[in-house]
Point group: D2
Chain length 357, copies 4
């Protein structure tokens, strides 16, 4: 596994941003209730088999496709590139890497034009497109906003066994690392990578993969995230809250993790920082720092480390999952095998559930 993915001689595409995720859900009505009725995403269009969704500030056709299918999985993580020509560049780039690619001039999803999908070196179904239908940016339509209004797609998060290997591949593709989690032995547990001026467009979480860890939508304020929790409580669906709300150490953003009816994880996220300068300082966190994942030291629930969504190959079959060989973040930080600190060298551990259970 630890062989570096070779750097192609081809020019990589100029990626603008993470643009949409195409996910397979097993009960479209249940998913519609979750994403539309509860989270308030806007339906751009829908059919009996597909729903295309966007948050209030988006002007492209969609940021999320719900596609009815037999197995809950992710069909594509799709990036928008700067020009039509960049789709050609993407296709050539992955062909040089020896990856399977599929080009469709009319796109794989409604509203999207010329696209290429690839089975990337990490096993993920990546897509690249430029051409896309514009729809109304509903930013000013406050009469449609709920109290927890989602306004932007923020990022993807992918599970892969060997984070440095994935990081090298994504850096070659033009991504820049903003933060990571390591230990004193040099093991990397996770890395955050960006194209747009935020902390990330995608992140790599060390674990058995390829699997999709989560998709994240942004709200304007922390109070919007708190409302989503209040609403889930009112609907007696608080068990969909997996982790949070809380303040991340990494990214400094405010967060909440939910699980959709198929178990796909959705993050609600707000207020990270500008990263657009080429010399933006990289922040490295110690895996044993118990404020890295939650700045308030609140424990990470084990399912957050262990659960993730299958991803599909270009035939629609689940990619086999390869085990992580290096230590897991869960093992080195929780319970008998692990330890964490609030103050390096300090023996006190406080009252938190992770310490007392």
């Amino acid at each position: 596994m630890n062989d570096r993915i070779p750097t192609p001689t081809a020019t990589p595409p100029d990626i603008l941003r993470c643009a949409y995720m195409d996910i397979v859900v097993t009960d479209l009505a249940a998913s519609r209730e979750f994403y539309v009725d509860i989270l308030g995403l806007v339906v751009t269009e829908e059919s009996e088999t597909e729903i295309y969704l966007r948050p209030f500030e988006e002007f492209i056709h969609h940021n999320l496709v719900l596609r009815r299918g037999p197995i809950a999985a992710v069909a594509a993580l799709s990036y928008r590139v700067r020009s039509p020509r960049d789709v050609d560049l993407a296709e050539a780039y992955y062909k040089e890497l020896g990856c399977r690619t599929e080009r469709r001039s009319n796109g794989f999803a409604k509203g999207v034009g010329d696209s290429v999908r690839v089975e990337d070196p990490l096993g993920f179904p990546y897509e690249f497109f430029y051409s896309v239908e514009h729809v109304e940016r509903l930013a000013w339509h406050y009469e449609l906003y709920g109290a927890g209004a989602l306004v932007r797609l923020d990022h993807f998060n992918q599970v892969t066994p060997d984070v440095p290997r994935g990081r090298g591949y994504l850096e070659d593709l033009g991504f820049r690392v903003t933060e990571d989690i390591q230990d004193s032995d040099g093991v990397t547990y996770a890395a955050w990578l960006r194209r747009k001026d935020t902390v990330h467009d995608t992140a790599l979480t060390g674990g058995d993969g390829p699997r999709m860890h989560h998709i994240a939508f942004a709200t304007h304020e922390k109070t919007n995230i708190l409302y989503i929790c209040d609403k889930l409580g009112a609907l007696r669906k608080s068990d969909l809250i997996e982790r949070g709300p809380g303040r991340h150490g990494v990214s400094n953003a405010f967060y909440l993790y939910l699980r959709d009816p198929d178990g796909h994880r959705v993050e609600i996220y707000t207020q990270d920082y500008y990263t657009g300068d080429p010399d933006n300082p990289v922040v490295t966190w110690d895996v044993h720092d118990n404020q890295r994942r939650d700045w308030w030291g609140n424990p990470v629930v084990p399912s957050w480390y262990t659960d993730a969504s299958l991803v599909l190959d270009l035939d629609g079959n689940p990619q086999p999952v390869v085990s992580r060989e290096e230590p897991s973040e869960l093992a080195v930080t929780v319970g008998a095998d692990g330890f964490s600190y609030t103050r390096l060298g300090d023996e006190e551990h406080g009252f938190k559930l992770g310490n007392t259970l």
Copy 2:
């Protein structure tokens, strides 16, 4: 234990509100750092042995006394009454109950005049006073507000073995129940009681007692509470966060529980509802409803159930702690002995730490 406390023939005092808590701390400098530097309470006056504190909207001399002493404990839970004569009524009321009382025309704490302290039937050191020094209400002094500014004392919370017994006593004293937690066998686990127009001035939590569970200060908004967590993280003191932040089921308020350097528990609280009508509806929660203590279903850390502060008798000696005989809320809801539900009758339990650890 289950004998009802007799109702005196004497008229009870007309209690306005919980007014201040007098607590003994073992390291005054450490406590000052916590309450003044971190939480931002305003120092009305201080000496080498005592610090008198108030939040921004208070106009009486203090809502909290920190008193240096050998054992961390609570010296008094003090209520303000409507008139000087109500102090006489209080004294007579407790004398009829057979309680030890002590009257001091110059008060037990600086700034407070004629007061009576009692060892109440539950073993708590209650105080009643009317006369008090006025100080500036700093409500408009925003130049002094930090981002997590505390504005009011909201309530006390007391641990007592037999909640219905304590409830009957406090109802006789003029308190009204607003909410409680019961089970289908009729066991009461906790009750909330008010004088002013909020959900409570004090609450009774079932457990080994008499002990003091927490003192609660109010902020204006939820974001103020989130900031306190962010600041504790920045100070590398996140281990002082015991539970939360979150939304209570009971009271519908937003909350955070901290532990001071002696382990005294402090709640930060905002946005409960008006309860001032005599027929205000009482809300009863099922002890197995996992949204009762946290509306989002986030688990209650065991220390929150088990830990509390000793209380002192009028000689300054700790009151002996009597065990609760009825089932504990911890036992019936967490782990092997207990169960909780999000939806009554539904078997699913979700991803929460309380369910997975």
Copy 3:
């Protein structure tokens, strides 16, 4: 006018709080759109001629009645009293004052029982009741909350020519003044009076009266108020915003004033302070202090001083409006006749519209 209203020998009723306003609107559908579709008040019940509304934390039948009629006016300002007997006390009290009264054992509005309505000494239609139908307190029903959710009725505000005369009458009735606006000549321009533990249940604004200045509903947070403005902008109804949003000097609350389709003024209000102690300090503001009405010094629009709603007598006819004889707050503070300061004695006036137009 300056004759003091005599203090009755009768015991006044024990008033709990302002409870509801009964207003006549000329286009019930337009009013419904404003109060229900835009502001999100909950409909308890409605017919072709009446709509009964409440905010999310209310448990009595309604806090607002919209009643279809030929002339926009106020039919009643209604207070809840502590017991059924207090209705008798109210009736006797006003009879002794020589006021016309009308008692209806089945109430004047649906959901309300035994009530007395009076034409009070200031010419206002006051109502007093205890018996009322309980409805569900929707406080926990966050799935119904919009982003600008109204949670409580907070207060009334009445226009009367002689504020000290009205103040004396209301103090006799049991109200307590919390704040007022005066000048150095001893003229009183406005006074705030409370029964519940907030800054006011009603206020007296000096001007031609009797007229109703506004009714105020509370939200939880400032951001809820900002959202109402955003929504009105999105609906292209921003011209319904008369004044604000802003921070009051008086009351220290955050505010917004809207005008309903008939011109009735509605305030949205949040975060004043506890006033329940009998020696709560009264705050007196100088009429020339330009932070008294808006803490940020933003100008008060003239219509806010001049416009108000007619009130009805018990036959449903508008009460004649009597002119204020003392100087008006508008005249002494705005434009050629008036002056205001930010810092007493300082000549600078800044850039504000009130100074530059």
Copy 4:
């Protein structure tokens, strides 16, 4: 004036973002009180003649220089470019435009290395640099945050007589228009232009110029902006609030305009939208739409249109101010000469001060 500025054949520099403004203030202590004590900007370093300031999320040496001098003015609007070579490109680009340039390998301000300053075709002192000293990004230092913490430099705003002429020049330089204000005769009143992924790095406001209209800092949330107003009220400096707080139509951001002790205008700004796609839709607003500048229809104070800061040439002398020849936004929208609407074609004007005074 209406001659287009020629497009150079030289490659323009790759501009990352607006980076800092260098302003001359006449009383350094007074300015320090405003920017440091009141607004809470962090001092990177200071001397008796200069103060270097940054907000909490910045990692370059400063975003604002306060420089003591005899006349309040702007010495430079400085942009960071992608690489050292882009400074060469900038120098060559402006030389081809016939502009005066000055190159300093050690920079014009502390902490900044190789820089070029130019007198640009619109008369503004623009600067371009890449090399800069890194300082600590204080994003996680919540213990230092005040309740109104400023976190990023967001944008500049420049006054120039001929907006389309300036727009053409900035588009050649690589900026992209995101929004503008026009009338039905084709007159452009203002335009917003970006490099980073926000609505703007700078904007052109039509008026007598060259002058600097304002510099804008971002906060995380609306409540932070409200707090700044509350604090100014508490300090009895509310007359420094020129306009707002409010919601912009253009940019959809929440805003507040202050005036510093020299009259330099500072905007506090939060929550505009992502604009990084090359086909990001341009929003054009009608100058008569009274929600364009304030979404709530609150009036723009005349000084906001008429006042601005002088800018300096490379010798430190004020640039002469050239009058705008086209109609002014003030004239066409306020008072006798102008008109605005909330709903196009609707005659109603509401209660707002701009309509009633």
